[in-house]
Symmetry: C2
Subunit: 368 residues, 2 copies
DNA sequence: ATAAAAACTTTGATCGTTCAAATTCTTGGT
DNA sequence: ACCAAGAATTTGAACGATCAAAGTTTTTAT
């Protein structure tokens, strides 16, 4: 195959100079219409394509976003970041940008990788996930003037309003509040909550959504709410183990709201063993598991999250990294999630946390 | 911040020439040891980093793999490609390569994107997923000498042995065979199979695994097997709908092997409504859903798949794209999956396919 | 008609690296 | 000592694009 055509070749065919070809590509408005058409025809004729590397070398722009992909985000809710990645890739593509992945171990490792990618002009800006208060990564990025946006609030009052730290997040409290209010609307009163142990930025936020709905709509006070909630580490088994005693204390709840689908599934299991297989339960994240078992859940609307991230990074229209400082109010986006109500495919789950792992138990026929 | 240091700066500090610095970086063996050390010290002192774009422009190598990420691979089994992506990114990183994502609509759109990325020297090689017989993408890639490897067999005898078409795949038949044999070992005899409608390369392959185990280990013949299997489109509901009549025809099966976790979950649902809630069922893909509900499944070992893909592309040691033709036997890898046996968290699933989607049914207490 | 302004186009230099070929420095055999 | 062969290093020229500034043509105002 012959050498790929360059601007020079196009210029020759169109009888113009290199620069004019470049202008047609990058600032068409400065070129006279007739000339532009001639150049465009030559581009088509030769099948010319811009060489991205040469362009990058000169402009120091790569039209590429970097995002870290962890080795394996297993578990039920692990797919959230993957879904975000899909949405981000798609939205970035619409703006003519691409997404480059990298891995790293630990915050320092990530900083090293970012630094490398940045110096090599490989990546223009970074998207970080799961940031926390005084995250060394964000501090480094700000100090080194590397454009970035995070999916997730920094969870510190000071960082949170820092206009240099662009962030997008899902309004977890709004999600659990919507779930709780929906349950209240359908007649529920004794609504339990299963959360993550405090402190957890995301977890505490979601719990507050349930609390505020219970308080505002039902007039419950702190004392009333006190025993209605319980916490557990993420996981189906942990959820089940935490909910069982809660159900012993509150034998006739109306519903359960959970901080995650994993815990919700655990709650379903526990409810089933307690003979409450029809108990309405709402999870969070709207994972495939929730869809599969017919669990109501809160959908994070990751398309909106991705769109928000790009908007902060690139401006609402353009496709160039915005270095300009945004005003505090403009430096972040809080996406309101959507409640997805499913009619449960009712699974009278039977909790066998103590079951053996031995295979071959196909003769069993158990029922609570 | 001052200008980033270049080879020139390093050269000055180390009192050598540009090229020597370049050699230290790219072919250390041609540089005298003492000189090399001097240069290396200068590199560290200045914090020099190679500019990837300049290097790419000159060498036309990018140390980057491209892979298409579809807008949204929803559903239970959608996560397979995401897990593969995680593994690929990690393995690529170990070889100093990065992964770039792009989206495209349709095969022609993907070809356009590949062509663009390739011409721009953005990407050295591509990883394709879900290829089929006479896939226009692979034909184009071969015709245009673009290095690539596919995750998934081409499913055509001729392509399959084409040494120009590198591929890695999971031996689905081995997976279902192992599942079936395991069930046989535990005493099962009447083992049903739920597959995808034919023709489906992957689906037919997996069905053959069940068939061969039934034939070889139990001596069943075609006629015996004929009514023991059923097909359904991918989906929990579809699986449930297909398995119910099967269970009516075979009221006392010993186990069910399924082509996917979605169908397996559907089968669980159907089995539960038929009063067979303890029936051993094996799915395929080992998705989070399977883990969550305690469903046995076949794990694809995506780390091995990713490793195999990179080995074919880059050779077993190096990190450069191998243009060399491999011999037919060396041009592909078939990964043997692993059977994951779980003690079911027994879910006497209750099939309510006809349930309304109306919310507010929290008062229901149903049981089959 | 003419100068000034605006619109458009071209020319050289440059981004940071590696290639290819030329040059200098070592080493060893006679 | 000397020369050839090899090892080590350097030099000039790309790679393909854009920037900055200078040149040309066209339009507008007087």
């Amino acid at each position: 195959m012959a050498q790929l055509p360059t601007v020079e070749d196009v210029a020759r065919v169109a009888s113009v100079s290199r620069q004019t070809v470049s202008n047609v590509l990058n600032s068409p408005h400065v070129v006279k219409a007739t000339t532009r058409e001639r150049v465009e025809a030559a581009i088509v004729e030769l099948g010319y394509r811009q060489n991205a590397s040469a362009r990058r070398l000169r402009t120091r722009k790569s039209a590429t976003l970097g995002i870290r992909l962890d080795p394996m985000a297993d578990g039920i809710s692990g797919s959230i970041l993957d879904r975000f990645l899909h949405a981000l890739t798609e939205q970035a593509d619409e703006r003519g940008m691409r997404v480059m992945l990298f891995t790293a171990s630990g915050p320092q490792g990530e900083i090293d990788q970012i630094s490398r990618l940045r110096d090599g002009a490989d990546v223009d800006a970074f998207v970080l996930t799961s940031t926390f208060h005084r995250d060394p990564r964000t501090e480094w990025l700000i100090a080194n003037d590397v454009p970035f946006v995070t999916f997730g609030r920094p969870w510190g009052i000071d960082d949170m309003n820092d206009p240099q730290h662009l962030w997008v997040d899902v309004d977890g409290a709004a999600g659990t509040r919507a779930a709780t209010e929906h349950l209240i609307d359908t007649g529920a009163r004794r609504i339990l909550y299963v959360g993550w142990p405090s402190p957890s930025g995301t977890g505490d936020d979601r719990r507050r959504g349930w609390e505020s709905a219970m308080r505002d709509r039902l007039g419950w006070n702190d004392a009333d709410l006190d025993g209605l909630h319980v916490t557990a580490e993420e996981g189906v088994v942990q959820g089940s183990a935490a909910v069982s005693p809660l159900l012993a204390a509150f034998p006739a709840p109306d519903a359960i709201v959970c901080v995650s689908d994993s815990l919700a599934l655990g709650a379903m299991t526990a409810a089933a063993s307690a003979g409450l297989s029809g108990l309405p339960i709402v999870g969070f994240d709207n994972t495939p598991v929730a869809a599969a078992v017919g669990l109501s859940s809160v959908e994070q609307c990751l398309g909106d999250v991705a769109a928000g991230a790009l908007e902060l990074l690139l401006g609402s229209t353009g496709n160039d990294i915005v270095g300009a400082d945004l005003s505090p109010g403009e430096a972040h986006r809080l996406i309101t999630p959507e409640l997805v109500i499913r009619s449960p495919r009712h699974l009278p789950l039977f909790d066998r946390a103590a079951a053996t792992n031995a295979p071959g138990n196909h003769e069993e026929r158990e029922r609570p």
